[in-house]
């Protein structure tokens, strides 16, 4: 397609910002105000580390929880302030020497990530679910992650009432990375952000208090595969850099469009060679698809979701998806709109496979966490459908979907932490039989989340699904919509299976008990339900928000 046309299409969802002079050597100008959210979170993380070092063990938990919550809240406030200050729309711009974009999508996603993390952190801090050991309240994390499971050392740690309060700084680091990821405006930042939020997650997966072997196994798998994929991503970065001679999104985009003025001979040579670009793009895309858990890069998802401590799973499932899809949007919409005709068909394939595989494999799952894992895969497929639309509506619909989905997920996993038996969380489906008879309220809440996953009207799931499908259809991906509909029909089957199990089958005598949580988890669940229903019944406000936030800066 011709360059001019590309620019025209391109301008649909991007506005020009004054070119950030990347290569001028000089004292870097950092817009601290606009970077505030990230800085707050990362700063707090560092402080958290210091707390670990200097605050006495007794006080750590409270200190950390306080710090984390305050930090996330403050960061969110900062995001709101920025958005209110028009940085999402009129004053959107590139900051930090062209490394980071502060624009609608970035702020919207950062806000979403921060809120989700905030409610997720409540479940991290939950200490009422299990009976106290030796007079010490315990949360979901190992007393001493380094100790060998079942060893004397561990017993001693438990006796001493150790807890892994390190998780809070780790979460903060992860959030920090996630905040940068969708805002990254050059490939390097992209890669760094990816690593910054991945590494803490690897660790978080490993520190479950119950079922530690599974937890460690999950961590290893996640880590190895994660590293593997990031290697691919990095190589992709290298190739794209090779193609464009720069890692700046704007620059690459221009090169791709062929609208660059200063063409060095080398650039001319590499520009001619689209293979570089295409392979590079494919590999970077692969890295992102891995993070969102799209087929065939999804296989880590079930194992990790199952093995990781449930609060971590909830956080990971929600926040990672948001961040990764944010980055993907930016990559596809800002860097490679000129390649639309190349990536759309590929993404079609991925989306279709993801939707179907996720839905179909979920049918035969027997563990609630794995079930949710596969459902998250299917949802990744739906979101991809929205991404493919390649229209402003596509962007806003994806943003909306991410917002809606993340809260449902966090809430659902929070409920999972409540259903427990002697061995900790009773995640096997058979244990959930008759839950509706035992504790109707919890079952009803979980039913609401399931219905939202299934996309039943009057829940946020439906609004989101409708939004992305509508965008996809308008983007000319009608077939995709049909397949999406079919796979949601398949998916409906297993959500309903769980509901049947909870309400219509007789409770087993040795069934699990439903722990009565502290206000923390209650808040999480309450927020989840509230958002689910609010976005289901009256989504207009949030749709507007997403709509306004759907313009990328370039």
């Amino acid at each position: 397609m011709s360059a001019s046309a590309a620019v025209a299409v391109h301008s649909l969802w991007t506005t020009a910002a004054e070119p950030a002079a990347a290569d001028r050597i000089g004292a870097p100008a950092i817009e601290y105000a606009q970077l505030a959210p990230t800085l707050i979170v990362v700063g707090a993380a560092v402080v958290g580390v210091l707390l670990e070092a200097f605050v006495p063990r007794r006080a750590r938990y409270h200190a950390q929880v306080f710090l984390t919550v305050v930090a996330l809240a403050a960061a969110f406030a900062a995001v709101v302030a920025l958005a209110a200050g028009g940085h999402a729309t009129t004053k959107a711009g590139i900051v930090a020497m062209g490394a980071i974009a502060v624009d609608g999508p970035a702020l919207f996603l950062q806000g979403t990530i921060l809120l989700t993390s905030l409610v997720a952190v409540f479940t991290f801090a939950e200490r009422r679910l299990d009976p106290a050991h030796h007079g010490h309240r315990v949360d979901s994390f190992a007393a001493e992650a380094a100790a060998v499971p079942g060893s004397e050392q561990e017993k001693a740690a438990v006796k001493a009432g150790f807890t892994t309060t390190e998780v809070f700084p780790l979460v903060l680091f992860a959030v920090g990375g996630m905040l940068v990821f969708p805002a990254a405006n050059d490939l390097l930042t992209l890669f760094i952000a990816l690593e910054v939020f991945s590494l803490p997650l690897y660790l978080l997966c490993a520190v479950a208090r119950r079922k530690r072997l599974m937890s460690q196994e999950a961590a290893v798998k996640y880590f190895l595969l994660g590293a593997f994929s990031s290697a691919f991503l990095l190589f992709g970065v290298a190739l794209m850099y090779g193609y464009a001679g720069s890692v700046s999104y704007a620059r690459i985009a221009d090169v791709v469009d062929g609208s660059v003025s200063d063409i060095t001979p080398a650039l001319a040579q590499t520009m001619g060679n689209d293979v570089l670009l295409l392979i590079g793009f494919a590999m970077v895309l692969m890295g992102l698809l891995f993070k969102v858990g799209a087929v065939p890069f999804h296989m880590w998802t079930p194992d990790v979701y199952q093995g990781a401590p449930t609060p971590v799973t909830g956080f990971m499932a929600a926040a990672t998806k948001v961040a990764a899809f944010g980055a993907m949007l930016r990559l596809l919409y800002v860097v490679l709109p000129g390649l639309r005709w190349d990536w759309r068909p590929v993404m079609w394939g991925v989306a279709i496979v993801t939707m179907l595989a996720g839905a179909i494999v979920a049918i035969t799952q027997t563990d609630i966490k794995r079930l949710l894992a596969y459902s998250s895969i299917a949802h990744a497929g739906f979101i991809l459908a929205g991404v493919i639309a390649a229209t402003p509506d596509g962007v806003s619909s994806v943003l909306f979907y991410l917002g809606a989905y993340s809260f449902v997920t966090v809430g659902a996993f929070a409920v999972v932490t409540l259903v427990r038996d002697a061995g900790g969380e009773a995640t096997h489906l058979s244990k959930w039989a008759g839950l509706g008879r035992r504790s109707p309220l919890v079952a009803a809440v979980f039913a609401v989340f399931l219905l939202a996953f299934a996309g039943i009207p009057l829940t946020s799931g439906f609004s989101g699904k409708f939004a992305v499908f509508k965008a996809a259809a308008e983007g000319g991906a009608g077939a995709l919509v049909v397949i999406g509909v079919i796979s949601s029909a398949i998916a409906a089957f297993f959500y309903i299976r769980v509901i049947v199990l909870m309400f219509f089958s007789e409770p087993k005598p040795e069934g699990p008990t439903v722990a009565v949580p502290s206000p923390l988890t209650m808040t999480t669940i309450a927020v989840g339900v509230a958002v689910t229903l609010a976005l289901g019944v009256a989504p207009q406000y949030f749709l507007d928000l997403a709509g306004q936030a759907s313009v990328f800066v370039r």
Binding site: P457, A473, V500, G547
Partner: protein, 523 residues
Amino acid sequence: MSFPLLTVTAALPAAGAILTAAVPAARRTTAKWLALLVSLGTLVLAALVAVRFEPGGERYQLTESHAWIADFGVRYELGVDGIGVALIALTALLIPFIVLAGWHDADPYETQTKRWRPTQGFFALILMVEAMVILSFAATDVFLFYILFEAMLIPMYFLIGGFGDRAHTGTDENAAAQRSYAAVKFLLYNLVGGLIMLAAVIGLYVVAGNFSLTEIAAARASGELEMATDTERLLFLGFFFAFAVKAPLWPLHTWLPNAMGEATAPVAVLITAVVDKVGTFAMLRFCLQLFPEASKWATPAIIVLALISIVYGALLAVGQRDIKRLVAYASISHFGFIIMGIFAMTSQGQSGATLYMVNHGISTAALMLVAGFLITRRGSRLIADYGGVQKVAPVLAGTFLVGGLATLSLPGLAPFVSEFLVLVGTFARYPVAGIVATSGIVLAALYTLVLYQRTMTGPVKEEVRAMPDLKARELVVVAPLIALLLVLGVYPKPLTEIVDPAVRHTMSDVQQKDPRPEVEAAK
């Protein structure tokens, strides 16, 4: 903006549902009375709607319109034409009887724990369904309708799966299994239908840009909104499929017998007499108005399917051993008539179909509820377990017979009028179909009378010897329904007056004229 009567009519039962659900576990009776009162109140409001509606006036009256989801081009738009009024009235009319008939259906078993509150839930769900159904009859926004169409499934699902018929053969376990099978089947069938409709709804938006039935229909009529033939047909099929599942039309019917068999009689009535009507209603309102050309294109096929439903349903009813399943298959046959009437595209056919929806609602309610009373007495759904009931419980038998006669559409009872209109209307355009369908009246007589003969006549079976006759509560349920059947059978004018203008509109939507009588045509 006048008083939002329709919203209030739907809101009352919704609020009632929440209140009923909130009644403390111990106060079951309070919940029951509350539900009954609310449903009666709704009836009053519905009557008000019927009164405020002027047959001669605007097509859609009592309209309301508020912004809702601008991004999706969705508005909260309500408005009723005659058809909507008739069906809202039917719904509001039946619910009190359903509540009253189900008075003891959700009383807790001895084994059940204190915290589990089935009774409140049961009545709350019924009211919730009522609210959604009424709103869906009043919705003039496709998206709003779709949402209700889908959301309705959830309470229905819990009604079917959570409160099964206690008269079952076999162990409690496999009864529970069958029940949840029925519930899941109901939900999945309708959900799949709904999801396919969702695709069509989205498609419609892409084509039309908004969801307002009135606007789209107007645009279609004025030709501003052109649809490519294939697009229109695909969209039509998407909508029709969902409605055909709901209605249900052969071969998408198999969920109905399970659902009606496993559910308690009142819930079965709720399914077939109220909820399923949404499907046929939607065919009339949405399929024909939004996709007139495609409707005409699909008519022959649909007529054939409807014919199959009529004959097939009747034949299977003859073959049933379970009273409630029999009634279910009979309903399938009747839905065949309704759908045939709608797509015959003659004003007799469509008026007939509309009347049929109402009459079938009443007659099935009468028959099914009496059957329910019978079944609870004996504790079995199998026809073979009965015999000679007429001798021990003449009133029960009598009312059952009247219900049956209504089902076989005997002249003098309401269903005859509608059935004959449908037949005439169809015959006028598709003589062969009309004649084949007429065979349905023989089959209807067959299954009804066989049922009556096997259960009510003959020597008295030991098990039924001690069977009490109808109690006061049950009589209160049945008598008005029967009276209504008689009145509407002899004097359906009030109904036809309301319905006729709406049908005239629909006919003009599909640009169809009634075929003129041969004699006039000759002149």
